[in-house]
Symmetry: none
Subunit: 309 residues, 2 copies
């Protein structure tokens, strides 16, 4: 027998925990299942743009989110892998490595994962000069030298953002042309602090305590760029592996869950919030995740009480 809840929230990041704070206030029994509390937000070196906290580490903010959710009455099952999501009658059953749980409604808030380079030094120097969030970490690189890996909008935007703080910013891109919007490319041209290194693939991030250099392969020739920070902006991917198999959730071309303004998905009883959705104009932030979680919770309440949503 699986333990029964009104709502199971898949994911314990900002979207999931915000949703949970609301669902318990609506009197709905709520279980949130996640690999780790905080999701991608927990990795941020410093968060300065979630209103109310002018500067807080991702880890500390995550702790506050987790404490808030627990205090409100959300049951938290973290460090837990979800094996499958199954429709059962009018409800759903979740199989995890810690048991089975069932619910009348689901909120999917599994977030995204930053795509990794998967080169030596990347993992070892993460948080020590290797970053996946320019907006979060730029202030730490004032008057320093950095590189952004990638050549699409997110990478170029990150480089332009970094150029305001840094002494020099490389854009390291595997192609011979940036693939961002033309205006962005023009801005890069005008920004003397930025040097675009074309036809180049990162080979390793190097350094003892912190990042000291980046080795790249440029048209079959190895080069070493001396620098203090490496920003990896080669995209993030929605964590939707589990969702299409049994649920047949509608995803967009990037794999994000397509939601209505109510955060309802195409499957009755299944709602979604946060980076995994196509909502908030796809601006993936703690702020937008928290807002979407609130909306999803409100809609779940309406769904379960047969109120129009």
């Amino acid at each position: 027998m699986s333990k029964k809840y009104d709502v199971i929230i898949l994911g314990a990041g900002p979207a999931g925990l915000s949703a949970g704070v609301y669902t318990v206030r609506y009197g709905l029994s709520t279980l949130a299942i996640g690999k780790e509390p905080g999701g991608m937000a927990s990795e941020a070196t410093v968060v300065e743009n979630y209103l109310g906290f002018s500067a807080i580490t991702g880890a500390e903010l995550t702790k506050r989110f987790e404490e808030h959710a627990k205090k409100a009455g959300v049951e938290l099952l973290i460090y837990t892998n979800i094996n499958s999501i199954n429709k059962r009658g009018a409800g759903f059953e979740i199989e995890t490595d810690k048991g089975r749980f069932s619910a009348k409604a689901l909120i999917i808030a599994l977030g995204k994962k930053k795509r990794k380079l998967q080169i030596p030094g990347e993992k070892e120097l993460a948080g020590k000069g290797v970053s996946y969030c320019a907006t979060c970490d730029a202030p730490l690189f004032k008057d320093k030298i950095t590189a952004v890996i990638g050549g699409r909008n997110s990478a170029v935007t990150a480089a332009l953002f970094l150029a305001k703080k840094c002494k020099k910013v490389y854009i390291v891109y595997r192609r011979d042309k940036l693939r961002s919007d033309l205006v962005l490319i023009e801005r890069v041209r005008k920004e003397k602090k930025i040097e675009v290194v074309y036809d180049s693939v990162p080979i390793s991030v190097n350094g003892k305590e912190r990042v000291e250099s980046l080795t790249i392969k440029r048209k079959d020739r190895k080069e070493e760029l001396k620098l203090d920070g490496v920003f990896i902006e080669i995209g993030a991917v929605p964590s939707t592996e589990l969702l299409t198999k049994n649920l047949k959730l509608k995803l967009d071309e990037e794999g994000c869950i397509v939601v209505k303004p109510s955060m309802a998905t195409n499957v009755q009883g299944v709602f979604a919030a946060g980076d995994i959705t196509n909502s908030s104009n796809k601006f993936d932030q703690i702020a937008t995740a928290v807002g979407e979680g609130a909306v999803a919770a409100n809609t779940v309440f309406r769904f379960l009480k047969n109120i129009k949503y």
Copy 2:
């Protein structure tokens, strides 16, 4: 000559301040103009559902929001009345009682205002026993009898707060059931000082110098409740008086600004966020306002840099 900014944000509540934190991070000079910091959120007795703060007064949370925005670099012009919003060439000019200011883009985050009952005595006795803010005015009603008009979250929260100070608190509601969160309804049940008067509509507030009683119609029978204070908590209406005159902003049937997922309005260069919009499925919360502010700021940045949005 008016002082020039990249962005002017109209409103200094959660949506406006969140937007400001983002716009300054994008390097855009930003002025936020508001009547008072925090907007309606500042009047909340206690906020328990904005992730990260398990219980905080609206006043304290507002202080944190304001400090965050200032520290980020938002110029704040508060306690200021906006007289008009005008299109000037490719930009906008704002006339206030503290001078003129111009900007290339606007973010409208003026929020909502508490709805009035529009019954005899309400206006005449405002500030003399009639109040729209329990947090602000509860201390004036120590050991007295008060009534809260309304039956949703804001009304029930106000009644619970007043019960800490008052001898007795009526909740006067037109329906036969409260429509607030279940946890709040349970707290009301346990609070012996609160009496819920269902199926009742206020007819007049009575008194010479100050409030002495409230006349209600209860299932077609008139009754008079002897009391000292009446707190009106029947919802809110968007503050859009200034917006349709010169800007021709598109509003929905409830007067909310119609926005796209990017928070763009129908007028080029004008964006909006928070309770005043039809976004977030019209779930007016601090959480959703903060999220919408972030999206609006991102879109303003893209608009000003000619990036597709």
